[in-house]
C-alpha cells in the first residue's frame, strides 16, 4: 500500500520516465553480459525484488534532488536506517546511499542513492529533515571524504580528530 504511494510520489522526481521493471537475471545472456562494458546506472526509479535484494524501491536521483526525495519519505513517516557510501573508482564516481524503512507493519524499504564526481564529491545535507542523519553523514565524510553541504558539524567522528585520510576509498593505502 504505502509502497505504491511512495512509488508514485518519488516518480514525480523523474518526469516522463516510466518505472523500469528489473530485468530478470536469466534473460540476460552470460556472454553478452561479459562483452558489454558496465555503464553506470542512469537516474531513475527501480522496483526491486524484495526476496533477492532486501528492499522494495530503489531511486537514483541527482545530488540536488536528495533533499526533495528524502522530504517525500519524511512526510510518509519513514525512519532513517543509515547513510553510507560506495567508491566506484572505475566510473570516477562516489555513491551515497540512504536507507529508509518503516515502523508499522506496512513493510516498505526504500533506498535513495546519488552519484557524484569523485574529484569534487558534494551532496546537500539532510540533517534539517532527519536530525539522526548527523552522525551518519559525519561517518560517510570520514570514510569517503564526501562533503555534506550545510552540515552543522562536519568534523571526524569515528576517525581521530586530526584525520586527513579517507580509508574506504579504493585507492587508499595505509
Amino acid at each position: 500500500m504505502i509502497c505504491e504511494e511512495t512509488k508514485r510520489a518519488l516518480q514525480k522526481l523523474f518526469p516522463a520516465d516510466e518505472v523500469i521493471a528489473e530485468t530478470p537475471e536469466e534473460a540476460v545472456d552470460d556472454s553478452e553480459k561479459k562483452a558489454k562494458k558496465p555503464v553506470p546506472r542512469a537516474n531513475g526509479l527501480l522496483e526491486r525484488d524484495y526476496a533477492v535484494h532486501g528492499y522494495h524501491l530503489d531511486a537514483q536521483v541527482a545530488a540536488d534532488q536528495v533533499v526533495e526525495a528524502v522530504g517525500i519519505l519524511d512526510k510518509a513517516d519513514f525512519f532513517i536506517e543509515s547513510i553510507t557510501g560506495v567508491d566506484w573508482i572505475k566510473d570516477n564516481q562516489l555513491e551515497v546511499i540512504y536507507d529508509f524503512s518503516r515502523y508499522d507493519f506496512d513493510l516498505c524499504r526504500v533506498v535513495i542513492r546519488t552519484r557524484v564526481d569523485r574529484n569534487n564529491p558534494e551532496v546537500p545535507t539532510i540533517t534539517e529533515i532527519y536530525a539522526g542523519a548527523n552522525w551518519h553523514e559525519r561517518e560517510t565524510h570520514d570514510f569517503f571524504g564526501i562533503k555534506f553541504i550545510g552540515h552543522p558539524h562536519l568534523i571526524p567522528l569515528l576517525l581521530p580528530e586530526d584525520a586527513d585520510f579517507h580509508p574506504l576509498l579504493k585507492d587508499y593505502k595505509a
Binding site: 536506517e81 536507507d99 508499522d104 574506504l168
Partner: protein, 372 residues
Amino acid sequence: MSSPIQLKPDETFILNVGPQHPATHGVLRVKMEMNGEYIVNAETVIGYIHRMHEKMGELKTYPQFLMNLSRMDYLGALGYSHGHVLVVEKASGIEVPERAEYIRAIMVELNRIASHLFWFGAFVMDLGGFSPLMYALQDREHILDMLEAVTGSRLTYCYFRYGGLYNDVDDQFVASARKFIPRMRKSLKKYHKLVTGNVIFRKRLEGIAPLSKETCRKYGASSAVARGSGINFDVRKNEPYSVYPEFDFDIPVYHECDSLARYNVRMDEIEQSLRIIEQGLDKLPGGPIMPEKKPKIIKPPEGDYYQAVETARGSFGVRLVSDGGKTPYRLKLRSPTYSNMHLFDESCRGMLIMDALAFMGSLDLVIPEIDR
C-alpha cells in the same frame, strides 16, 4: 524527576564524562555543558575503539570475515553473525537446511537472554544496586556454558557458516536448555520482586528521559528504545526472516516513553525469548546442518543486497555490494546502538546529570558496536 529550569547560559562549565568512566560501560566520552547539576548541552564523542571493520570486510574473503562480526558486539555476538550469513546466503542463493535455521534461532535467543541479563545487572549497578548483577551473572553463566559446549567459545562465537552451522547440537544441550527455561522463569520472578518493585529504583526511572515517537523516527531508534516509546517495531515480526514466522511470540510494547518503560521491555523480552527457545526445542527437526550443495568459494553475483535482523540491541543491517569477486566490494554494517546513542545529545538537555546517567544505562550501550 528532572524538569526544565531557567538556565543561565553564562554560568556554565564543561564536564567530561569518560572516556574512562564506569557509567559509560566502555570507552565513550560525553562532553557536557553544565549549569550546576543540570545539563545545558551535551556532545557525545565516539570512535575511541574504532577498528574499521568495514575496511576489513573489503580486504578479507567472505569466510575470513565471519569472526569479525562477533567482535562488534561482544554481548550478543550471534545475532550479528546471523545478519551477515543471511545476507551472503541471500546473495549467493545458498539454501539453509531447516534444522540449521532452528538451531540458529535457538542460539540467537539464548544469546539475547545472556545479553539482556548482563544489561540488567549493569543497569541496576549504575543506579546503585550491586547484588542483582551477581544474580544475573549466575544465570548468564548457565547460558555461556551451554553455548560453549556447542560453539566452542564463551563470548566471541564464530558458530554460523554460510549455509549452516559449524557444529550440531547434542542431546545434552537440548536437555540443559530444557532445564534452563524453568530456572530462568523462576529467576525472572525473583528479579521483579527484588528490583522492579523497589521504590528507589522506580523513583530513579519513572518519567525520566521521555522519548517521543517522533524523536525515535528522526534518529532511527530501534530495540527497547523504540518499543518503550510505544512503537511496535521488531524486525523479527515486521520483516520476518529465518524461521521466526514459525514461532508464537509477542513483542512487548510500553507507552510510557520513559526509562522504566525501556527496562520493562527488555525484562519482558527475556520471557518471549524463552518462549521461542521452548518452541524451537519442541519443533527441532532432524536432518543435516549443512546443505549438500554449496559453492566451494563464496562469490555472490554482482549486485546490492540488504538484510536486517533483530539483535539484542535492535535492528542490525548489513548492506553487501558485490562485484562478483571473492571479497565484498563494500560491506556496510548498520549498528543499532549508533542510532540509539545519537539521540542522547538532544534528549538529555535540561536533565539532572544523575538522571542522564540512568538514561544512558537504559539505552543498553555496547561501545565497540557503536565504533565498529
